[in-house]
């Protein structure tokens, strides 16, 4: 924290007073809470537990791959491990990660609202998540699924593992995702306070809005897909079964109609977080607000039309391939616009390399690589070679992990003081961020190389010439894992020993920084007035208050 902290209780800290954490006590007050902040926190704990599980699976996978053939487990176990790693990370961590955990906490606060539009639905959505996660866990016990998280037919309908309970788990998780998205859309439409026009909304909300649109419009198709899969597996309905005249490739179309937009469910909110942190920590107004806002919506719309780029080698016609390839390139443009605008935001700023900013800069670096390597895969001719190799694995890890998970960490470190009222050790948080950055790059840069050389994904055994790449990748993964242990230790330590946080520790101009840390149950003590959410320059550090305070009235906007 600031060297200048002198006051034992900084202005705006509510840990000693009444806040949403302390107002009601007891297990029931949490389990039946309708408070979006508490629900967000419960989501946070749950998805971090999932992340831990997925991470352990990842390390086991990387350990197995240290040598060709058997290292620590047999082929079937390995196949189950990578399936569960994918399913847990995607359905339990990355998809709900930013919207349901951070979004739930922050969205009403940023809007200056008391809660989301449907608090009971919000809680129901959380319990849907729990039920879906339990079904997924049940499938681990009944016979862990070994199909890959994509559940391609007819493999998934013929394997002897517990595909049905996993499919139902995914269906219920999808329901959770739909309810969250629906709730957010209605909240953003109907609960904006006076003065907050659409173009005065923080960009995180624009991003969540785009995300919610995809959640509501794409997830039902996943729902019917996994339902049909379960019916196919359980009753043999024949729609995806080639032995019965069905079409297994139709499943892929259905699956990717959801799962490609789902990639944007994962990355859009991450982009939203970056738009917030880059402005706050550069102490500069975000550059090109409207372009960033519209690009979120453009991504949401185009994302529905690109699913076929997962199927360039499945035998679809040249014309379809060309259309999907072209649209895939189009969807790259809004992302490029955002990256340029974020970079421009730093120009002539006053850049503070606090942990959220370190993660933000990591994001720009890693997402840059993830996005640019997408060009190789969007292009028809090069995709034929790279499809289903480690190049793809590296690409989507750069986007989902280097992009989404790193932005999630940026957001977590950014809003941590607001959520829990305490500051963490900045030095150690930066050490963790550095280890995550280095470990991540070593892990996945090696995978780009071996993928381009032709190493297929989901291989238990591999040819000896790929060994050096696999060893490098595994070593990188251990560094990455170690970075996470430190990050977790830093945050947990702050809960016990961290200095008290002021209302506005970073100088953010969005509304959540105007209430106490942690906020009261009703979010704001009085009426809030929305101004320009990126007028960060009006906040100055006040050593007496221990945090940032406004030195002039809010600007009217831009």
């Amino acid at each position: 924290m600031q060297d200048a902290v002198t006051s034992p209780v900084p202005a705006g800290n509510a840990l000693g007073a009444v806040n949403y954490l302390s107002e009601r006590r007891g297990l029931a007050s949490w389990l039946f809470t309708l408070d979006h902040k508490r629900i967000g926190l419960m989501y946070l704990v749950s998805i971090l537990a999932s992340f831990l599980l997925g991470g352990i699976l990842a390390l086991l996978i990387r350990t197995e791959l240290l040598t060709p053939a058997r290292t620590i487990m047999d082929a079937k176990t390995y196949n189950q491990m990578f399936t569960l790693h994918g399913a847990v990370m995607i359905f339990l961590f990355i998809i709900p990660g930013i919207p349901a955990a951070l979004g739930n906490f922050v969205l009403p606060l940023m809007l200056g609202a008391r809660d989301v539009a449907f608090p009971r639905l919000n809680l129901a959505s959380y319990y849907c998540w729990v039920a879906g996660a339990l079904l997924a866990l049940v499938s681990m016990i009944l016979g862990a699924v070994d199909t890959g998280w994509t559940f391609y037919t007819p493999y998934s309908t013929t394997t002897d593992t517990a595909v049905i309970s996993m499919a139902l788990g995914v269906f219920v998780l999808g329901f959770s995702s739909i309810l969250t998205g629906l709730n957010f859309i209605v909240t953003i439409h109907k609960l904006r306070p006076a003065g907050m026009t659409w173009f005065r909304m923080p960009l995180f909300l624009w991003a969540l809005y785009g995300t919610s649109l995809i959640q509501v419009l794409a997830t039902p198709v996943l729902g019917i897909t996994v339902l049909l899969l379960a019916v196919e597996k359980g009753l043999g309905i024949g729609i995806f079964d080639p032995a019965l005249g069905g079409d297994p490739v139709l499943f892929q179309h259905f699956f990717w109609f959801y799962s490609h937009p789902a990639v944007y469910i994962m990355i859009l909110p991450a982009m939203g977080i970056i738009s917030e942190t880059i402005s706050t920590f550069s102490r500069k107004h975000i550059f090109g607000y409207r372009f960033i806002a519209w690009s979120s919506i453009a991504i949401a719309v185009i994302s529905f039309l690109v699913w076929g780029h997962h199927m360039f080698v499945s035998g679809q016609s040249n014309l379809l391939g060309a259309i999907f390839s072209f649209l895939t390139f189009l969807v790259a443009i809004p992302s490029a616009i955002k990256v340029f605008n974020w970079t421009a935001t730093m120009y002539k700023g006053s850049i503070w390399l606090a942990a959220p900013m370190i993660y933000t800069l990591s994001f720009l670096f890693l997402f840059g690589i993830g996005g640019l390597t997408g060009l190789f895969l969007g292009s028809l001719a090069t995709d034929v070679h790279l499809h289903d190799t480690y190049f793809v694995v590296a690409h989507f890890h750069y986007v989902m992990f280097g992009g989404t998970a790193v932005a999630f960490l940026a957001g977590l470190h950014y809003w941590w003081p607001k959520m829990l009222g305490r500051m963490y050790s900045e030095r150690w948080a930066n050490v963790a961020a550095g280890l995550v950055f280095v470990g991540f790059n070593v892990t996945f840069m090696a995978q780009f190389l071996m993928g381009a050389k032709g190493m297929p994904r989901r291989y238990y055994n591999y040819l000896p010439e790929f060994t050096p790449y696999h060893v490098a990748s595994s070593i990188g993964s251990y560094v990455l894992g170690f970075g996470f242990v430190i990050a977790a230790a830093v945050l947990l330590h702050s809960l016990l020993r961290g200095p008290l946080a002021p209302a506005n520790p970073w100088g953010g101009a969005t509304l959540e920084w105007q209430t106490t840390s942690p906020p009261p149950t009703a979010n704001f003590a009085g009426e809030v007035v929305a101004g320009d959410p990126y007028d960060v320059e009006r906040f100055e550090f006040d050593p007496g208050a221990g945090g940032y305070v406004s030195v002039r009235g809010a600007a009217a906007g831009h």
């Binding site: 539009a117 609960l191 039902p220 729902g223 049909l228 009753l235 019965l244 005249g245 139709l250």
Partner: protein, 240 residues
């Protein structure tokens, strides 16, 4: 401050909404979004239908005659009638006509039961005949006369289809039939649960001109369930 006054007087206004109008609008928008997701859920099946009908038209032409278009037609009328009673029920709630509201909700619910009853007769028949999906397809007799044959005979060009040439993979049609009508049936059941709950609340006199959002939203859902059937009926029963 006026908000607080309104809150104090209004048990139906949740604390985070400023006005009843805002709350009702939020509810309605949420419901429309939910209906959109329902349509998308079914659209997956409609896509599967389109793909298979395009790839295997002969299967659809052949197999649809095993469906009883008379029973299907009656069910269509039952649902259309129930939509009418539901719309009337919403109106009754708006003007606070308690008795009419209860009667109309009960009528709508009864239509739901009627629909499911007829559906049961149809399913039972298919089950007996072994006209089921994929792996369970085991027709009792290939010479079975399709029930739609009187209608077919009037169309001269269709006589060719009456020659008992059984196409391959007939079960694909029944797979899609059971998937679509089964999912629709589940939605009817869900709609009936909602209707039952509305009826209970209506009997307690909770609705009136000041507060009728639940009836309104439940009605929207019921209309969607009907609408899906309006598409299913011709697509499955009335193929030419």
């Amino acid at each position: 401050m006026s908000h607080a006054v309104e809150h104090a007087h209004d048990p139906h206004l949740q604390h985070h909404f400023a006005t009843r109008k805002q709350q009702a609008e939020a509810g309605k928008l949420g419901m429309w979004l939910f209906l959109a997701t329902e349509i998308l859920l079914f659209s997956g099946l409609f896509c599967a239908y389109a793909v298979y009908r395009a790839n295997h038209p002969e299967v659809f032409i052949y197999a649809h005659r095993f469906l009883d278009s008379t029973l299907g037609g009656i069910n269509t009328l039952v649902l259309i009638f129930s939509s009418f009673t539901m719309a009337w029920a919403v109106r009754a709630a708006q003007i606070g006509a308690q008795k009419a509201l209860q009667v109309l909700l009960a009528l709508t619910l009864a239509c739901g039961f009627g629909f499911l009853g007829i559906k049961y007769v149809e399913y039972h028949h298919k089950w007996k005949e072994g006209l089921l999906w994929g792996k369970r397809y085991a027709p009792q007799s290939q010479a079975h006369v399709p029930t739609g044959q009187e209608g077919a005979a009037t169309h001269g060009r269709e006589t060719a289809h009456d020659v008992p040439v059984v196409p391959k993979n007939v079960h694909l049609f029944f797979g899609i039939y059971f998937a679509m009508t089964g999912l629709h049936g589940l939605h009817v059941v869900a709609g009936m649960v909602v209707l039952g709950w509305l009826l209970l609340r209506a009997r307690r006199g909770e609705f009136g001109s000041h507060y009728f959002t639940p009836v309104d939203l439940g009605g929207l859902y019921w209309h969607l369930v009907d609408l899906v059937w309006i598409f299913l009926f011709p697509l499955l029963y009335l193929i030419h």
